[in-house]
Amino acid sequence: MNSLDHVSRTAHWKPTIVAERALIVAHTAVNGEYRHLIVECGDEAASALPGQFFQLLCPQPAGEQSFLRRPMSVYGVDPARRRVEFLYKVAGVGTRGLDTLKVGDTLDLMGPLGVGFTLDPGLRNIAVVGRGAGLATLAPLAGACRARGIGVTAILSARRPDLLMSIELFESHGAEVITVTDSEQTSGPANVERILRHLISQDRCDAFFTCGSSRLLRVQQRLAHEFGLSGEIAMEQQMACGIGLCHCCVRDFNVKGEIVSKRVCWDGPVFDMMQALP
């Protein structure tokens, strides 16, 4: 709410959120469903933080129309080379449109948007628990942890082993990766709870960072409560404006026993895990 404070009203006024046409520098299929997109953009966009997102104006695939932008988490960011990366699932008309982009094309992106993850200076080891596109949101956190000397154990969940993503990326940031899948029957809440309890017992989990699964959220909330740990969750909701104008992306949160409605795009997408209602 006090974002108006950011605004300097001098002649040198500068926006902190911009919409611009970014240049596609790489675009590859990760598997049948997911694509990895790298764009070259301006300084504002390239200053995005882990957990923040962009609103992408997807090109229209032939014979189809989308009207709104589509929200996508920052999957990677390189301020020096002014690059931002996305990892997205081809789901519907918007992402089918994205999928048509070729290197050398441009993409209108708007951001960086929202509130990202906070890494408390006191943290030594964290557990990252992600599933599906949630991995895209969590991946840049591993890099930030390495820069701060925080140890990361990443529990990555998917339907099948071939749909697991970002293992190398997490490992390249020094994270230990544990994979769980539906087809191997390792992804259920009970097994993930077992893994997390083990980490906690080894003093390798001061906090949880999670995205992409309500069932795994509940497991983490229970453990955080039991062991007095903290946690953050990146949440999703259908969005229109992405910048706090329209109130279509609200979710209810439990703030000290009171149910409070918050805008995921503006008050989040990262929230205190203990306030989240799965």
């Binding site: 009203r9 959120i17 009207f67 259908q238 229109a240 104008l245 329209c246 503006w266």
Partner: protein, 323 residues
Amino acid sequence: MSALMTPEQVDMSVRVGGLMLRNPVMPASGTFAEGLAQVFDFNRLGALVTKTITRELRAGNPLPRVVESPSGLINAIGIPSKGVPYFINDVLPLYAAYEAPLVVSISAPTAEGFASLAAELSIPGVAAIEANISCPNIEEDGKAFAMSPQATENVTRQLRAATGLPLWVKLTPNTGNIADVAKAAEASGADAAVVANTILSMAINLKTFRPSLGNVMGGLSGPAIKPIVLRQVFQCARAINIPVIGCGGISTAADAVEYLLAGATAVQVGTASFIQPAAMTTIIDDLKAFCIQREISRVSDLIGAVVVEEADEVDVSWVDPVQ
């Protein structure tokens, strides 16, 4: 085009219902908030317009609250409201720093409720009241005051008695006789008519066979409705002498010019800001450029300047003209 005109020479100001605006571009209620202050300087706008507020605390509608449509958006946000004290203490101060006048949009379930809310909000920092007597997705199948001239006259008269601030009345495009409703608003003391709110609409999800919106019906906005609302602005501007503020599907300066030509004195930009967050400042810049290019020294010269007579010459401009 013209080496003679410079940007400084275009007079962009317009006078709307008791206010002098530095330019005719302002946000539409419910599509504007603090987030945009990170995109452009609010002082560039003709005015600032708040989301509609109510006296009661309201949660807003069940989700989903929006659904896409061809060239448009259907919303059933409802009017989530934290009430009057919150607005006065926490929202109003945010806008105090800006020179652009603040227009406060209000709604109430009864004419008396409208009047008392307007009275309570006639305080320093508030430059005008916009009475949203049109929001289509709240009550009984979308019916609203502005559906009929009688109800409009009643609520406007009570509002007029309650506030000394400029009073803008926002009409609904869902009525069959919008010019009559505009006349009723003028006759009972409104200083301007905002034409218009969203058009009552529906979409059905083919996976679930349920309405796509939690509220079943919602209001259509965006480019899809532009030709409909433009027609209504034209009809209203011919029917009344108070200014008309055009609002519906404006995304570009060309759209804004169309509205001005049809008779609007100013325009509100809503859904376009969801697609291009800097839409309003781009429209202001391009509107100025349009005036320079066409050698129009005052933007107000565009107001109502559409030339209406039968055109019978066929446009064959794609064929090279001979010499």
